[in-house]
């Protein structure tokens, strides 16, 4: 092992460093947020939309978006859904445990490009954590944007993430939050329906708005159509993709989609670039 230089968004670590878990927070039955602390004396910086490779020792690595505020110091947040061996090991970590971290990797949300107009942030399921850093930025620089809309969908009310934060965001007059679930029991007073159907009634100017979107690919496919029907051009629709990322440093080729490597050229893409490749049956 050679000494690692100080990481930044422009020069990520390429070998895992041992970070300490400082806190864990259960967001839902299967989703946990880890607060991680870099090795002593090392500063970590990232941009909204980027991800780290995390590995609980002995279980392999997985790409996990950074879900905290890029403008604040302190622990680095990752929100992880327990869907397999590696993520189960990560979700089982406790304060004081160690985790292998390398990053940050990938492209970021085009927040400066979106200034001066409306922004529509769209998230489905575990897609909310990857856009949360962008929401923090939008709210911290609220005067640079016109209307800001957050559309969020989940499977059931119990699967909604960051519910306390959603409540606070809903109470703001400068942020329009619409939440929907696929199904709910009788006591639920919120919306039941699918995310693409929220587009038609969301209050934004499609002629100038920029859309940031993360979620299951099928959800994004239908939501892109709804945005296009509303009049949002492809070059202002941005989505975060995570297909088969394994090395995160453009070496293994597992995440190749047409001419792109998701880890190097993504995860955040402009839909205009990605559209020819997005719906290929085999890629």
């Amino acid at each position: 092992m050679h000494p690692l230089s100080e990481p930044s968004a422009a020069s990520p670590w390429t070998e895992p460093a041992s970070w300490r878990v400082t806190a864990t927070r259960r967001e839902s039955d299967d989703t946990v947020t880890l607060e991680l602390e870099p090795p002593a004396g090392q500063v970590f910086a990232f941009r909204a939309g980027q991800f780290n490779m995390l590995g609980a020792f002995g279980t392999g690595e997985v790409p996990i978006s950074i879900s905290g505020d890029p403008a604040t110091g302190g622990p680095v947040l990752h929100t992880i859904r327990d869907v397999g061996m590696a993520t189960h090991a990560l979700c089982s970590l406790e304060p004081g445990d160690r985790v292998g971290v390398r990053g940050p990797y990938g492209t970021c949300w085009p927040l400066e490009q979106a200034e001066g107009a409306d922004v529509v942030v769209i998230a489905g399921g575990i897609g909310l954590p990857p856009v949360r850093p962008a929401v923090y930025h939008l709210l911290a620089h609220r005067d640079r944007y016109r209307r800001v809309v957050l559309l969020y969908g989940a499977r059931t009310p119990a699967d909604l993430l960051f519910t306390g934060e959603l409540t606070r965001w809903r109470s703001r007059f400068d942020l329009d939050v619409q939440v929907t679930v696929d199904t709910a029991a009788g006591g639920w007073r919120g919306d039941v329906g699918v995310v693409p159907d929220l587009i038609a009634t969301a209050r934004f100017d499609p002629a100038t708005a920029t859309a940031f979107m993360v979620g299951p690919e099928i959800m994004m496919r239908f939501t892109i159509r709804a945005l296009q029907t509303a009049g949002v051009p492809d070059d202002r629709i941005f989505l975060s993709m995570e297909r088969n990322m394994q090395c995160a440093v453009a070496m293994c080729g597992h995440c190749q989609l047409g001419p792109f490597l998701m880890c190097r050229d993504g995860p955040v893409f402009c839909h205009r670039r990605l559209a020819p490749w997005l719906n290929l049956r085999e890629a």
């Binding site: 696929d182 029991a185 639920w188 919120g190 919306d191």
Partner: protein
């Protein structure tokens, strides 16, 4: 007082020509429902459809031992459905106001009669409700796909 101005404002009918709005106004009634009350119940005759102006309606299905399950919510600008249009003219779900609801009720028999008298109106209304049916079908397919379930899950 005619309800034609309210019909003209409703998003569902914006593409309808003015003379047809005047015809529909003859079938229209202004209605209100308090929170928790039912606009309609499964199995009852679907003798009206509702154009929602304010409030929120949950389309529910009752399941023994589980309580009601909400399959969709409808809000201002939405329409409750098309059971009035096709036989057996029977509601397939419960429609419950989860917020106070202001709506325009259109009588089903009245609408069908006007459509029979004026096939062009019938075609225009059928187009509107067919578009609504497709939108609901696509949403239902997405819900059935369970896109947020484990089969589609990634960790990022």
């Amino acid at each position: 007082m005619t309800l034609e101005p309210l019909l003209r404002e409703h998003p569902f009918l914006t593409s309808l020509e003015p003379q047809y709005l005047a015809l529909l106004a003859g079938c229209a009634t202004n209605v209100r429902f308090g929170e928790g009350s039912f606009l309609f119940r499964e199995g009852e005759p679907a003798d009206r459809c509702f154009l929602i102006r304010e409030g929120k309606v949950a389309l529910e299905i009752a399941a023994a031992g589980r309580g009601p399950i909400i399959v969709q919510t409808l809000a201002a600008g939405d329409v409750t459905g098309f059971s009035w249009l096709l036989e057996p003219h029977q509601w397939q779900f419960d429609g419950r106001a989860i917020e106070p609801v202001h709506a325009i009720a259109l009588g089903g028999a009245c609408l069908r009669g006007k459509c029979a008298d004026d096939p062009r109106l019938g075609f225009e209304l059928t187009q509107l409700f067919a578009r609504l049916a497709i939108q609901r079908l696509q949403a239902t397919r997405l819900q059935l796909l369970d896109v947020y379930g484990n089969a589609h899950a990634s960790a990022v």
